[in-house]
């Protein structure tokens, strides 16, 4: 998570430094993509935790 935040910060800095509009758009899209992946990771992790804790799945 810390690494994710560090990377987003670096990319934001690059986006503001870039002298090319299309490149700025790409960097913004890269940040949005990383955020979306992070969101899905949290959702899937939550789903997996829920599945593991569901007695229906314990097979006993």
């Amino acid at each position: 998570m810390e690494e994710h935040q560090w990377l987003v910060k670096q990319l934001e800095q690059l986006e503001s430094d870039s002298r090319d509009y299309k490149q700025k758009a790409l960097l913004q899209a890269t940040i949005a993509l990383l955020e979306e992946q992070e969101k899905r990771r949290e959702q899937l992790q939550g789903e997996l935790d829920g599945t593991l804790w569901s007695p229906g799945n314990w097979n006993i």
């Binding site: 690494e3 994710h4 990377l7 670096q10 990319l11 800095q13 690059l14 430094d17 870039s18 002298r19 090319d20 509009y21 299309k22 490149q23 700025k24 758009a25 790409l26 913004q28 899209a29 890269t30 949005a32 993509l33 990383l34 979306e36 992946q37 992070e38 899905r40 990771r41 899937l44 992790q45 789903e47 997996l48 599945t51 593991l52 229906g56 799945n57």
Partner: protein, 232 residues
């Protein structure tokens, strides 16, 4: 994959939205931009040339301002004259079969007005039925349109997001999934010029971003695999 963008706008040079889209085109893709009003200022369409262009491309896009629930007049004339019997439909009229067809629509009102009870009362899917029927009749796969509502009111981050959405709409295989977006971003990060990035460690950051995207994908796939294994 080759994409043909057929633009129709009575004054394309003066249109902020059309100029933005034209400036947004990627430099290195197999994309043909074809502005009807510039090619045919007198309105006389070269049918053979247009049909040859269609044959050469796999994804055909109509890009225009949505005037009175339809296209500007030259694009309608183009449809009437270019999409002929024996070429686009009818006996041996299979030249467009299995191509993809999509709309890039610039729309003056906000999206929320295009629904029952909204100011316009009908959805974009309803209002674009003639284009859907055209795609069906000519054997083309109709893509989800790229709709741009109230371009002049877009904030800067929204414009940059539109630029990327547009580039992806031109070239990405459909449907556009997160995985496909990841591959697209990875490809673009590898290609982007370092010359327009002043800082010395720019290359390092770009590499770290690419690595993070790939690592995240592996983790997402692994999590999905675990969840699927627990399903009874």
């Amino acid at each position: 994959m080759k994409t043909l963008i057929i633009v129709s706008h009575p004054t394309v040079e003066e249109s902020g939205s059309q100029q933005f889209l034209i400036q947004s085109l990627p430099d290195d893709e197999e994309i043909t931009l074809h502005v009807l009003e510039q090619t045919y200022p007198d309105g006389e369409i070269d049918v053979d040339k247009e049909q040859a262009l269609l044959r050469e491309h796999d994804r055909i896009l109509f890009q225009f301002p949505f005037y009175w629930y339809s296209s500007p007049p030259l694009l309608k004339k183009w449809q009437d004259e270019v999409l002929t019997d024996h070429f686009a439909f009818g006996y041996r009229g299979t030249k467009l079969h299995d191509k993809e067809f999509g709309l890039v629509l610039v729309i003056g009102l906000p999206e929320k007005e295009y629904q029952t009870g909204g100011q316009e009362g009908f959805s974009i899917s309803e209002l674009t039925k003639p284009f859907q029927a055209m795609a069906k009749k000519t054997g083309m796969h109709y893509l989800k349109p790229l709709t741009i509502f109230q371009f002049p009111y877009l904030a800067e981050p929204e414009k940059k997001a539109l630029l990327v959405d547009y580039q992806q709409y031109l070239s990405l295989p459909q449907p556009i999934s997160l995985k496909r977006k990841e591959n697209w971003v990875l490809d673009q990060l590898a290609k982007t010029s370092k010359e327009t990035l002043p800082t010395e460690d720019a290359a390092f950051v770009l590499e770290a971003a690419a690595e993070a995207i790939e690592d995240n994908r592996m983790e997402l796939d692994e999590l999905r695999l675990h969840i699927d294994n627990y399903d009874i």
